[in-house]
Structure formats: C-alpha cells, structure tokens
C-alpha cells in the first residue's frame, strides 16, 4: 500500500470514474488527483456536468451502476492510523467508513432528512449505529450536536420534524447529523446552493468554526467561486471530467492560469461595479456555450470551443502543466494569462 504523508487525510490519485452505457463510455471523472490535508478545506469547483459530484460519490463509493471507478487510488487515513484504498474497499468495510470516518452533506436540505422521523430520532439513529450508547446518552449527544450547530432551543428541536424547520435550520440539522460521529472528513456537496445568501454566509461561518474547533477536513463541492474564497485553502477547478487548474485559493483569486477559471470569476456579478463609465448598466459576463457532454468530448482541449484565447495548438490535448510552483493549469497558453 502506498505511503501517505502524515498531514494528508485523503489522497485522490489519478482517479477515473466512467459510466459505461452500452458501447459508449462517459468519462465523468478522468485522471483527477488532489490531496486533502488535515484540518483544511479543498474546494472542487465546476459547472454542472464537470464531474465534481461524481468525484465526491466515488470517494463515498456511492456510485450507482453503470458508474464505476476504472482506475486510480483513493487513499484515506483512518482515525486509528491505517491507510486504506477506498477505491478497492468492499461495501461492507466501506459502511464502516461512511458516517464514522467520512460523512457527507447534500445540496437539498429540504429533502435530505427523512420527513417521517423527528430530527432527534435521526441523529440518535446515526449515533447508535456507530457507537454503543444508550438511547438516553445518544439523545444527550444529539442535543449537544444541535447546540454545536447553533440551533436554538435544541432540546425542543430534537422532537420536531424536518417540515417544521426552515431550510437553513434543516441544513444545520443535517450538519449536526453528519458530524454526530466525529468524522475526520466532511464532504459537502453544494451545501449552500439551495439557501439564500445570508443563510449561506451563516452556514459557511458555521463550517469554518466547526473546522477550527473539531479539526476536521472538508471537501467542498461547489459551482460558486465566491463561496470558495470564503472557505477553501486549496481549489481544484474541474471541467468536463478533468482538472483544468489546481492551486491554493489565494493564488487562484490573484492570478488564474486557465481561461475557464478566469471566465468563472468574471461570471460573479460585482455590485459595486454594475455600471459602466457612462452610467449604463453592465451586462453579466457569462462563458459562451455549455460544458461538452462527457460522451462526446471535442478533440484536443475540451474547453477550446468556448475559449477566447484559442490557438491552433489547442487541437492537441494539453496535459496538466506546472504554471508556477504549486499551481497547475491545463492550458497551453498559461503563460499568457
């Protein structure tokens, strides 16, 4: 089994996840590698169809057939110091990882909780599933968890059903549920997308605070670069199943080395600069076109058809190039950016 530097909790190494539909193959995740260090947050950014969610589902081994990890390693360091390759683990062993070692929260706080059980019931179920606690002890822990995620009147909220809570409250409850067994890694798949901006900021604050308190690592899946600046240490930008740019969050915001990341940043509307020099309203700057289907990728660089910097060489597929130390870019023209 491969070695893993001590500060790394999760290493995704040349991961390929394919969906085989008859004779056609969708390369949803194609040669993706990144590390998640202890106590840090890695953001995986991309549009719909870029493969970011499939990456997280691969790590959880929750892929539904025909989805399959075809190649690569997902090395994970357990709490007791063992290093496991999640990509080849049996479902039985995987179940021990889920929840206790790696937990996950999802995009829809409205439907991620079972409507038929109280929030308390669900957290207690979770705790007792992984730890030999009595109902009363588990309930006490559940209350502490709700307090931890700053839900007021935690004792009363334990006996409430999800429909009695607001979206933000439910996402908090979901976070409490996910964290109730002290996972070392939290995978958050667009946890704030369905929430309005103020609640989004609160949830991000909460995640940051929890990270500082508990010391867990977070793998944050999002399409919103604004959120990334708020929470992530490292950023992996994905496009059509591949990593196109990979660096620290600071560096990315300072200097993008891939036209796609630059386009993504330009998409974020800026309220302070919504008028041009003559006072006319500025339009939003979308990236023209759509993410190509992973079933039918263009030849060469997959971003080329939408790229303003396209040159003849883009017919040729660029590898992940080292643009600067600790800054990778899959673009022939990264030096021109």
């Amino acid at each position: 089994m491969s070695e893993l530097p001590a500060d790394i909790v999760l290493r995704v190494d040349r991961l390929r996840t394919h969906f085989e539909l008859g004779s056609r193959v969708a390369k949803s995740v194609d040669d993706v590698s990144f590390d998640v260090r202890r106590g840090e947050t890695v953001a995986v950014v991309g549009e719909s169809g870029s493969g970011k969610s499939v990456t997280s589902l691969s790590i959880m081994r929750l892929l539904a057939p025909p989805g399959r990890i075809v190649e690569g390693e997902i090395l994970y360091r357990t709490s007791d110091g063992r290093i496991l390759d999640i990509a080849t683990l049996s479902q039985k062993d995987m179940r021990r990882i889920r929840g206790r070692e790696i937990a996950m929260i999802f995009q829809e706080p409205m439907t991620s909780l079972n409507p038929l059980y109280t929030v308390g019931d669900q957290i207690i179920e979770m705790i007792r599933l992984h730890e030999p606690l009595s109902k009363l002890e588990a309930r006490k822990r559940a209350r502490q968890m709700l307090e931890l995620v700053e839900i007021p009147a935690a004792e009363r909220r334990l006996d409430e059903y999800p429909h009695q809570m607001s979206g933000g409250m439910r996402q908090r409850a979901m976070i409490a549920l996910a964290l109730s067994c002290n996972p070392k890694l939290l995978i958050a798949d667009e946890p704030t997308t369905a929430l309005d901006v103020t609640i989004q900021a609160q949830i991000l604050d909460l995640l940051r605070r929890l990270q500082a308190e508990i010391g867990m690592s977070i793998l944050f899946i999002t399409h919103n670069l604004g959120v990334v600046a708020d929470i992530a240490h490292d950023v992996v930008v994905m496009y059509a199943g591949r990593v196109v740019e990979q660096t620290s969050s600071e560096r990315l915001f300072e200097h993008q080395k891939h036209p796609y990341s630059r386009g993504l940043l330009a998409c974020i509307p800026d309220a302070s600069r919504d008028r041009g020099p003559s006072g006319e309203r500025l339009r939003l700057n979308p990236i023209p076109g759509n993410v190509p289907s992973v079933m039918a990728l263009p030849k060469g660089c997959s971003f080329a058809p939408r790229c303003p910097l396209r040159i003849a060489r883009c017919e040729e597929d660029p590898p992940l190039l080292v643009a600067e130390p600790h800054h990778l870019s899959r673009c022939w023209r990264h030096d021109d950016l």
Partner: protein, 286 residues
Amino acid sequence: MAAVASNPEQVRFLTLLIRRRTVLVGLMVLLTIACVAILAPVIAPYAPNKLSVVNRLKPPSATFWFGTDEFGRDVLSRTIYAGQLSLLVGVCVVCFASVFGIALGLVAGFFRRLDTPVARFIDAMMAFPDILLAIALVAALGPSLATVIVALGIVYTPRLARIVRASTLVIRELPYVEAARALGVSTWRIMTRHVLRNLVSPILVQATFIFAYAMLAEAGLSFLGLGVSPEVPTWGTMIAAGRQYVGRADWMTLFPGIAIILSVLSLQMVGDGLRDLLDPRFRKDL
C-alpha cells in the same frame, strides 16, 4: 391508559386517535362486526342451518328480522355466523398478500439486478384473471378453508408487490435515502426504516381493497364449489345464493351485502385515518 401507553409518543398517538372522528367511528363499527361474528352462537336468534320449509322466502318480519332464504333459514342468523369466516378469510388473505407482496416489491424495487425477473414474474401472475388463477390453485391444492386463503393470498400478492415496487423505486432515489447511505446506514435498515415506513399509506389503502376483494372472491370460489363447504355460510355464498331470487327476495342479498359494505367501509375509514396519523405532516391539522 397509562399502563398501555407508557411513553409520550404513544399517549399523543392515542389522543389523536380519539380526536379523529372517522377513525373512531370506523374502529367502533369494525369492532362491533368482529364481536358480533365471534359471539355468533350467543347473539344469533336461530341456528344458521335450521331449515323451515313453511317459512321459505319470508320477507323481514318480527320473527325473522332479515327475512328467510329459499330453505327457510333465518338470514339474520346466517349473516351473523357468516361474519366469522368472511372476516377470517379477509384478514388472512390480507396478511398473506402483505407479507409476500411487500417482500417481493421491496426486493424488486431496491435491488436493480432482481428487478427485471421479479417484476416480470409479478406481471405474469397479474396476466391471469384473478378468479381463474384462484380456481387453478384451489383445484391443484384441493378445496378447504386453508387453500382458499392461500390461493387468494397468492392471487393478490402481485397487486401489493407492484405498488410497493413502484413506490420503492421513487423513494430509493430520494436525497434522504442517499444521505442515509452516505452516513453508513445498512441496506436492510434503509429498506425497513426509511423506505418501508414511507410505504405505509399506499400499503394500507391497497390492503383495505384486498380485504374486500378477498371476501367477494371467496364467494365466487364457494359458488363454484371450490371454497368452504356449502352449509357453512359466508357473506359471499349468501349473496351468490340470493342472486337467483333478486326481485323476489331482495333481503337475501341485501343484508349480507350491507355487512360486506360496512366492514369494508369501516376498514377503509380506519386505514385512511391511520395513514394520516402516521404522517407527521398531517398531525398538526388533526
């Protein structure tokens, strides 16, 4: 009540049950019918098979409240006695079909690989006309009360299985099932706690239908001589026998018919109310 309901959840459930009037009425009617059937030997004014040639096809009167049939037997007494077997058949068939239907449906809906064979098997069974399949099964197993129950149970299993499968397919894909899986909940637990629990309402509704169908189908089988022996009255056989006399002696079909309607209706009222009670989103409005 404190002895029965020790925890607060149960107390709340019982108070809601009492507040919900349709459930209460349904429950009372159902219990009355069941009690009357069980206590038939005490309550019935005559023996169910006591013949009286002079009193053939008499309309309802002070002596014979529900009238008499073509052999002069008291329709009231027969209706009371018939409840025993009819309810027994209904309950047993529902239980049989529920156990197998839920198991098959869950398996088909939950495990993609088993879906096609199980679903096709269910479809194949449903392709047979109900009564024909029951006749074939009874013919193969030999007529008796137990075979009638088993045969009808087999006949109605696919109905439940189909509904359970369809709903399972939907629920399986819901985010909270995926969330549960992502937090390490086992497949068995997801099936019972998260999926099955959500299927209670469609199952309850379907079960009440099957209860009614089973009582009528039993009549059909008995009418064809494949059910229980003819001297034992059931509501179904009484209606079947009374059919020839509709217009001349309506009471022969009317009263067992009312008995069937009442039991099915009350069962549905209870089922409906239970469904609402079990769904926390409705509880607030109760």
